[in-house]
């Protein structure tokens, strides 16, 4: 009595069929993405691993010093050094490579999409629910089709990370472009700027500080995905966390976990520092 009637919809099945269909029909496309992503991630990782350990710490120190303060520079260097002492140096490099690749691809896709949304109300209306879905769908859910398209490994991790990390940069780019002062736009128009000149010389530079805030958000979200992504075979710090869960290894789990926190702090502060610098000077060379 009162139990739900025997009606079933097979939405999940339809999605599965759709994914199958995509896998078959867009095979070339997914291969292309796979190759591009592998190229990016491999070159970043090779470069990072090739760097002598002290020069990497020096780079982190300089970034911290330039964008925040000398104290921050020193603190961030200590963080990195500590991660090394945990024996997680190589894992850290892999994680940085995965995150950077995801962020670079996010920006390449996200900024143009954001600009398009700012210019087209229709496109914006279509995109909004999609972005909402991307952000609220539990992130484990995209892991399955990711494996389907790219197999186990870093590329699947990047694909899953992209879906989660892409929305902030798109949203904030749209917001930033729409938010450029009306009179500034009018004055650029009144001089007879073409649409392209307007975008390149006025709107994007004016929007840049807000877009940087989006980049910051995107980077943080990519980092937050590191552990989840390790479930589809991503290596690096996330993998170590997963391993420690399986072995119930408190010490490894804490070390890998705190390493992710250290990275998060450094990346957050540095990207914020870049945004602040842009806000302050607003100087963008052509």
């Amino acid at each position: 009595m009162g139990s739900f009637p025997d009606i079933t919809t097979k939405l999940g099945d339809y999605v599965e069929q759709f994914v199958d269909f995509l896998d078959l029909s867009l095979e070339g496309f997914f291969d292309f993405i796979y190759i591009v992503s592998s190229q990016i991630i491999n070159s970043i990782e090779t470069a990072l691993v090739w760097m002598p350990w002290w020069s990497f710490i020096l780079v982190i120190f300089l970034l911290g010093w330039y964008f925040k303060s000398i104290f921050s520079g020193v603190l961030y260097s200590i963080f990195i050094f500590l991660i090394g002492t945990f024996g997680l140096w190589e894992d850290m490099m892999t994680t940085i490579a995965v995150v950077l690749t995801a962020v670079i691809i996010s920006l390449l896709i996200g900024i143009p999409l954001g600009v398009w949304m700012a210019f087209s109300k229709g496109f914006s209306t279509v995109m909004r629910p999609i972005l909402d879905a991307m952000q609220t769908m539990p992130s484990f859910v995209y892991l399955i089709p990711a494996i389907f398209f790219f197999g186990l490994g870093n590329i699947s991790a990047i694909a899953a990370t992209l879906i989660y990390a892409l929305p902030p940069v798109i949203r904030l780019t749209e917001l930033a472009i729409r938010g450029v002062d009306k009179e500034v736009i009018e004055s650029a128009q009144s001089f007879g700027s073409s649409k392209w000149q307007m975008l390149r010389k006025i709107q994007l530079p004016q929007a840049l500080p807000t877009i940087m805030a989006g980049v910051n958000q995107t980077t943080m979200m990519a980092l937050a995905m590191v552990v989840i992504a390790s479930m589809v075979g991503a290596q690096g710090l996330g993998e170590q966390v997963l391993v420690s869960i399986n072995r119930i290894d408190i010490s490894l789990g804490f070390e890998a976990g705190i390493s992710i926190v250290f990275l998060a702090i450094i990346i957050d502060r540095v990207t914020n520092g870049i945004a602040d610098k842009l806000q302050k000077h607003r100087r963008v060379s052509e």
């Binding site: 009179e183 128009q189 001089f191």
Partner: protein, 402 residues
């Protein structure tokens, strides 16, 4: 002066279906009624005017009167819903985008209320912008930009960013940026409203100074009557999207088209609008040097006045004789020259009443008003100056006194 810009029945309506509103306005529906019934805003309705080459044409109105909407029609930042805009005889309303770009790049430049500066660029970067998008070489455009920065008095600030400058200086950058394109027409949308009064006055004078040198056609928006009458060669008054009156400042003060305008100009400082020639009286009687004292007395008696100006053959003022002096002179057998008083004040026809107040108080005699060739064209009594300051209708008071 040739006509530079001509507006014919220009209307601008905002909303989903602007064209459907035109017939409603023609039937005489009011702005508020249209907004309530259809959700459309009437920005400008049926504005027609001619603006001459080289004049400063001021469009004045309270906020919401449509003046900012109208000025944006001149460079099609707002494309009129109806009507034509002729610049140098060509209707620009239906220009395609590349023609429009040409007009904006070469003929018209605009200065904005809140400056509209690009704060990610230096002063130099701002001023050269208009030239940069025309693909003029870097050297050439920076040279022109530097010249214009100097014209507006900002030499030495080229590498500063807008937020490092005061409001007045920022608007100078805005002006330099507009001038750098060497446009025929300068649109100024309440350019000095955001500045404090002292800086505003300075900028007004500077604009007049620059205009004297460059002779652009300037369309200037303001809500400030004093500013409008100070810098405008002609003024258009707008209300509720309609142009209610167009005329020189003197014409508008002397004959306001309706109560709205009378109300608007009530607070105007008349002494800074009216010039000597507006309050003077044309002399009925003049005495020539060769005429002699008897003629002078006769003239004064006939016209019922107590003193008369004496001029030479070229109508240049020589002095004044009073009735007392003349009668005493005749008794003592003196000549006109003997009794002639030369301690009179002579003023130019375009001196402002404001500057005449002190002179009328100091002088025992009427002020003599002369034109550019120093010929006598009228005189001013103390009472004329005062009536010019207070009365609603200057002519009436003058008749009463005369």
């Amino acid at each position: 002066m040739t006509t530079k810009i001509k507006l014919e029945n220009v209307s601008k309506i905002f909303g989903a279906k602007p064209y459907s509103i035109i017939p409603m306005i023609k039937e005489g529906m009011e702005k508020n009624e249209i907004l309530e019934k259809t959700g459309h805003t009437v920005g400008v309705y049926d504005a027609s005017m001619e603006i001459k080459q080289g004049e400063i044409f001021v469009i004045m109105g309270l906020s919401g009167s449509g003046k900012s909407t109208l000025i944006r029609c001149f460079n099609l930042l707002n494309k009129p819903t109806h009507g034509s805009i002729f610049i140098d005889g060509e209707d620009i309303v239906n220009y395609n985008s590349s023609q429009l770009k040409q007009v904006r790049q070469k003929k018209i430049a605009m200065v904005f209320q809140h400056f509209g500066l690009f704060n990610h660029r230096t002063v130099l970067g701002n001023v050269e912008y208009g030239l940069e998008i025309r693909n003029i070489s870097k050297e050439k455009r920076q040279e022109i930009a530097r010249e214009n920065i100097e014209i507006v008095g900002l030499k030495g600030y080229e590498e500063k960013y807008p937020d490092q400058l005061s409001g007045g200086m920022q608007q100078r950058v805005g002006l330099a940026r507009a001038l750098a394109n060497d446009p025929d027409i300068l649109l100024m949308d309440e350019p000095f409203s955001a500045l404090d009064p002292l800086i505003r006055r300075e900028m007004q004078l500077e604009l007049l100074d620059i205009q004297e040198r460059l002779q652009k056609t300037i369309i200037f928006i303001t809500h400030d009557v004093n500013e409008a009458f100070k810098i405008g060669d002609r003024v258009a008054v707008m209300k509720d999207g309609k142009v209610v009156q167009v005329g020189t400042p003197e014409e508008i003060i002397e004959e306001p088209a309706n109560d709205y305008i009378s109300d608007f100009i009530k607070d105007i400082d008349r002494s800074k609008v009216f010039q000597a020639e507006h309050v003077m009286i044309k002399p009925n009687a003049l005495v020539s040097m060769k005429d002699g004292l008897n003629v002078a007395v006769k003239e004064m008696e006939e016209n019922n006045i107590s003193s008369v100006f004496v001029v030479d053959r070229g109508r240049h003022v020589k002095g004044i004789v009073t009735i007392d002096d003349a009668i005493t002179g005749i008794k003592e057998k003196k000549t006109l020259e003997d009794v002639l008083r030369t301690d009179i004040s002579v003023v130019q026809r375009d001196e402002y009443v404001n500057d005449l107040i002190a002179k009328t108080l100091e002088s025992k005699f009427p002020l003599a008003v002369v034109n550019e060739e120093e010929k006598l064209i009228g005189f001013i009594l103390r009472v004329h100056v005062l009536s010019g300051l207070v009365s609603d209708d200057v002519n009436e008071s003058i008749e009463y006194i005369g």
